[in-house]
Amino acid sequence: MLIIGLIGAAGLGFLYVRFFIQRRTPIRYAVSSVAAVGGASVTPFAMGQCGFAPETTGVDRLLAYGLMAVGAAVALVIVRSFFDRRDGLSNESDAFAGEIRSGGYRMGWWVPWVLLAPTLAILVVFLYTPAIQTFTLSTRLTRLGAPRSVDVCFRNFSELLVAEPWRLVAYPLIAIGLVYGARFWLSRTSPGTWSRRGADLATIAAALSVFIALYAMFSPGGGGNVDFRAVYLTTVIISVGVVVVGMTLGLAVAYLAYRSLRGGSAYRTLLIWPYAISPAVAGVLFFMIFDPTAGIFTHAMESWFGIDVPNYRESTLLAQTAIILASSWKILGYNILFYLAGFQSVSLDQVEAAVIDGASPWQRFVKVVWPGLSPITFFLLVTNLTYAFFEIYATIDFMTKGAPAGDTSVAIYEIIRIGVNNGDLGRGAAQSVLLFIAVIGITLWQFRTSGRRVTYGGA
């Protein structure tokens, strides 16, 4: 079984040179193939080839091949950068290269190392080490304080995925196919035509299909396994809810507050202060508002409108709405702050031109302001998403603790529930790895799209 994977890797290396490298020599074909085989064999040998042991399932083997493919791909990327450098085609961005070459202090070689040592030491000990340990933990069955632990290979992962390997291959391929199809269609149409509108719709549908494909790839639970589809769905609903509600309100309020008014800075302070409030306190405040026994919300609905609101923790819709509201409220100040700053980068000349053209305020906003805000919107999208992934843990812990029946238990909440409260470190780590992959995906997307490397407000 392993041999098939390695031969496949060698083939991959060969094809890579054939299609992606401009100068092709026999040596390059050989180097590339060998590198791919080397990269592919890292994980199976590090894991004792457990993915191909007789008792493994199809999903286990698929994961083993998948990791080999990732290893090969990483090796090929490295090989390519080496070829490119020899061909004088270095694809390092100018900023990055300039960064590396800068610096004019003439002192001993050790001075910068001393300056960087504390930072590096902390990053290595408290970020890189636990990151690697998360991966090793995820292949084990282990508990806090247990005298032994058991190697379970990919089991912690295959439990989270659907049982049939073909689904794991087919669904992502279909989704990727749809995305590229929609892109292709979009590139063949021109603005304003019906065809373009159709292509726009197809793009949205393709984006949705990615979410749906992921949903279908996860395990529906049963047989003692966790219903990971539910965790995924909850995470998506709550994160999308927080991002959409928080950013829309943030933009609206910022638009309102951007006008020059007397007392403008006082207003701004009154609008952005929740930035300083913690997610835990947000949880406490909204816990009070929505409390079924003593909260103002239930009471007001009943005495003013005669509506008998059920306990929000018993209804999926209400519980998720309450969490989204509390979390959006907390992040609102942050969004307002950045949108206020973002408005400054919108060209005033263009706005005035639009005014002269007789554009209505709404048209002005859609045609001129919104496009001008797209960098800041994108930046906020990523930071809000990170917030919704991690920081709202405290809000959930104070309001619903994941109720009803796990419908507000987002990924990070579930990781703590399994890994700490249940003490099942291995399964918790496996879910952490999936979340890690999601974060890496989002960050790479951010790097590619914006090229900005500075993020604000995080760790």
Partner: protein
């Protein structure tokens, strides 16, 4: 570089009267403040008053404060949080300044690797590796110590890149002048760079202070001893003061817990805004 004071702009996008905007802004500000105002009301009441939905200040503020601050030692938690936030903020600023200095003003072998190592940590939030980190840090025997909630957070890619970016926007002549003077890197940092970086330092200070003060998940795992607990987690035990859900003391402590970050944010708002505008425009 852009200022952050739209109030003084002469040209504007908007036409028409001001008063509808004043009203809209006041309503919005009140809406945003509602959860806090409501909590303030509850903080003054006892459970009987809360259950009868009294909408006027209650009679229990003093006793709520007494039970939260003294009997349950919320003061201790506030002190722990203060120490943590100050250690982390100071340490992070110093380490970030040093890293920024090294990145911008030094050329050395392996720089790309270091740069890459730091850059990659931007996509490694602590939360995704929290179980392994919990095992690691408790393996050091650090549970229930200040070290466990300070040391892991002393380094930050965000801080290092913020200063790197800020320094690289500074004129090159600064370095040349100080090299002629024979200044050591430490002197260069303290005499030249820091005085020119107060805005960025203030911005980083506000962000890190608020971030550290508001930390919840990590301390809730690594700190279990109540006397070493930080405010955000200590709030959890205040849901039950003497046998039942006690709303008043809980709201009061939530408000108290928000005072330090709010004060830091308000006091340093100006430099924060301008430092933040610097950070934004590349």
């Amino acid at each position: 570089m852009m200022g952050f004071n739209p109030g003084v702009r002469k040209r504007t996008w908007f036409r028409g009267r001001d008063w509808p905007y004043h009203i809209a802004l006041i309503v919005t500000a009140l809406g945003i403040a509602f959860p806090l105002l409501y909590a303030t009301l509850i903080a003054t009441q006892n459970n009987t008053e809360i259950f009868s939905f009294k909408m006027t200040p209650g009679s229990a503020l003093a006793s709520n404060f007494e039970s939260v601050w003294f009997k349950r030692d919320f003061a201790g938690a506030m002190w722990n949080s203060t120490q943590q936030a100050l250690y982390v903020t100071t340490g992070k600023t110093v380490l970030s300044l040093m890293a920024g200095l090294a990145f911008v003003y030094f050329k050395f072998r392996g720089k790309w690797l270091v740069f890459f190592l730091v850059l990659v940590t931007l996509m490694m939030p602590t939360e995704v590796m929290i179980l392994a980190m919990f095992r690691l840090v408790s393996g050091f025997g650090w549970q229930d110590t200040m070290a466990s909630i300070v040391v892991p957070f002393l380094a930050s890619a965000t801080g290092a890149f913020l200063f790197r970016q800020h320094f690289s926007n500074m004129p090159v002549e600064l370095l040349e002048a100080s090299q002629i003077d024979g200044a050591t890197p430490v002197k260069f940092l303290t005499r030249v760079l820091i005085p020119l970086s107060w805005n960025v330092i203030a911005a980083l200070f506000v962000i890190q202070f608020v971030y550290t003060w508001n930390m919840f998940l990590w301390p809730s795992l690594i700190i279990r001893d109540e006397s070493a607990q930080v405010t955000q987690v200590a709030l959890q035990t205040l849901t039950n003061i003497d046998g039942a859900l006690t709303y008043g003391p809980l709201m009061l402590s939530a408000i108290i817990a928000s005072v330090p970050p709010a004060v830091v944010f308000l006091l340093m708002q100006k430099p924060f805004m301008s430092g933040f505008a610097l950070g934004q425009d590349k």
